[in-house]
């Protein structure tokens, strides 16, 4: 049951990515090249609806329909957030594709998105290899509080 809602939510998301044209790298690159401001409306529209849901729904409902609690966003005031985002922007400018449209693009028959997906998986894997190891699984001489 919960899986159906997750897939339905993803379908709305993917339909929106396709409708907005974000599944076309050329559209994203024309935004980043300052030729078309449309992506401001995509983010603005998405943000407006998400903001309403995130801020208002938990006030009325103690729990989600099919869950126990609301996940809190883990954004940290940490240099990794900003250096990582700056690196992400370089990749975004190179390909014109970010993770959501890379996945959704497959649904529009654009098999070239597989190049991006392979790249994203490799990049995420590399990040995991280079990241600080998690604190708990192995006994360590010194406590490693980081990586939240």
């Amino acid at each position: 049951m919960r899986a159906l809602f997750v897939i339905a939510a993803g379908a709305l998301f993917g339909f929106g990515l396709a409708l907005s044209g974000m599944v076309r790298p050329e559209v994203v690159l024309s935004f980043l090249g300052l030729r078309d401001g449309g992506l401001m409306l995509v983010m603005g529209g998405g943000l407006a609806v998400a903001l309403l849901a995130y801020q208002l729904f938990p006030r009325g409902a103690r729990a989600p329909w099919l869950g126990v609690g609301f996940e809190a966003h883990t954004a940290r005031m940490h240099r990794d957030t900003f250096i990582g985002s700056a690196i992400f922007g370089i990749g975004w400018g190179l390909s014109g594709v970010c993770p959501g449209p890379a996945i959704a693009g497959l649904g529009t028959g654009n098999l070239k998105m597989l190049w991006v997906i392979v790249g994203l998986a490799a990049g995420a894997g590399l990040q995991g290899l280079l990241a600080a190891p998690p604190a708990t699984p192995r006994p360590q001489p010194q406590p490693q509080p980081q990586e939240g």
Binding site: R2, F5, V6, I7, A9, G10, A11, F13, G14, G16, L17, A18, S20, L29, R35, D36, G37, G38, L41, V42, G45, L47, A48, Y54, A61, P64, G67, G69, F70, E71, H73, T81, G84, S85, A86, I87, F88, G89, I90, G91, W92, G93, L94, S95, C98, P99, G100, A104, G107, T108, N110, K112, V116, G119, L120, A122, G123, G125, P133, P137
Partner: protein, 194 residues
């Protein structure tokens, strides 16, 4: 259908030109005329589909939250899915194991939703891109690394983080927008066509 297409264009051209002239001469006023020009220069390819697409994206993010309490960042799936194949402690953290299934379900939904758009509103042919493969792969590697280092991408920080009123997410958006603009400008200067 074909016959209609052949007959229509000659009659269509003057018919299409007339309303524009009429509208411009109507009592629209300088304010609207100015606004029209601004909108046209900001959004030369129209604005409705951008806003409409954004509202659908927001609806998906909202539904996931209301139904399951989860946040719809899309870069995490590229980390959580490594837990299926890598035994390394980093990829076997509980936070990845606990979310790896539903993140794949969400990704499946994205593909299905985009396919629905293609079926209902899209072109007859599959979408493609002129962006060369090396840029797609390299952009993917760099973008994937950066997004996971930052803990989010355009959806994770841009929509979910800002909708959670997280200041770091707002700053993250400013960071990736800035380097995105700079990267595209540099590629243009270097003569690398998109």
């Amino acid at each position: 259908m074909d016959a209609g297409a052949i007959i229509e264009p000659p009659g269509d051209a003057p018919g299409a030109a007339a309303p524009v002239t009429t509208r411009d001469n109507m009592r629209v006023g300088l304010f609207l005329a100015g606004g029209h020009g601004l909108i046209e220069s900001l959004f030369p390819n129209g604005w409705q589909h951008y806003l409409g697409g954004g509202l659908f994206i927001g609806a998906g993010v909202a539904l996931l939250y209301v139904a399951t309490g989860r946040l719809a960042g899309m870069s995490s799936v590229f980390t959580t899915s490594w837990s299926f194949v890598s035994a390394r402690p980093f990829f076997q953290q509980a936070r990845w194991l606990d979310s790896r299934i539903w993140r794949l379900q969400l990704a499946l939904g994205l593909v299905l939703g985009a396919a629905l758009w293609w079926w209902l509103l899209g072109p007859a042919q599959a979408l493609g891109t002129e962006v060369p493969a090396w840029r797609l792969v390299l952009g993917g590697v760099v973008g994937g690394f950066g997004a996971r280092m930052a803990g989010g991408c355009t959806s994770g920080h841009g929509i979910c983080g800002m909708a959670s009123l997280k200041l770091p997410s707002l700053l993250a958006v400013l960071c990736f927008m800035a380097t995105g603009f700079i990267t595209v400008a540099l590629l243009a200067v270097l003569g690398v066509a998109a």
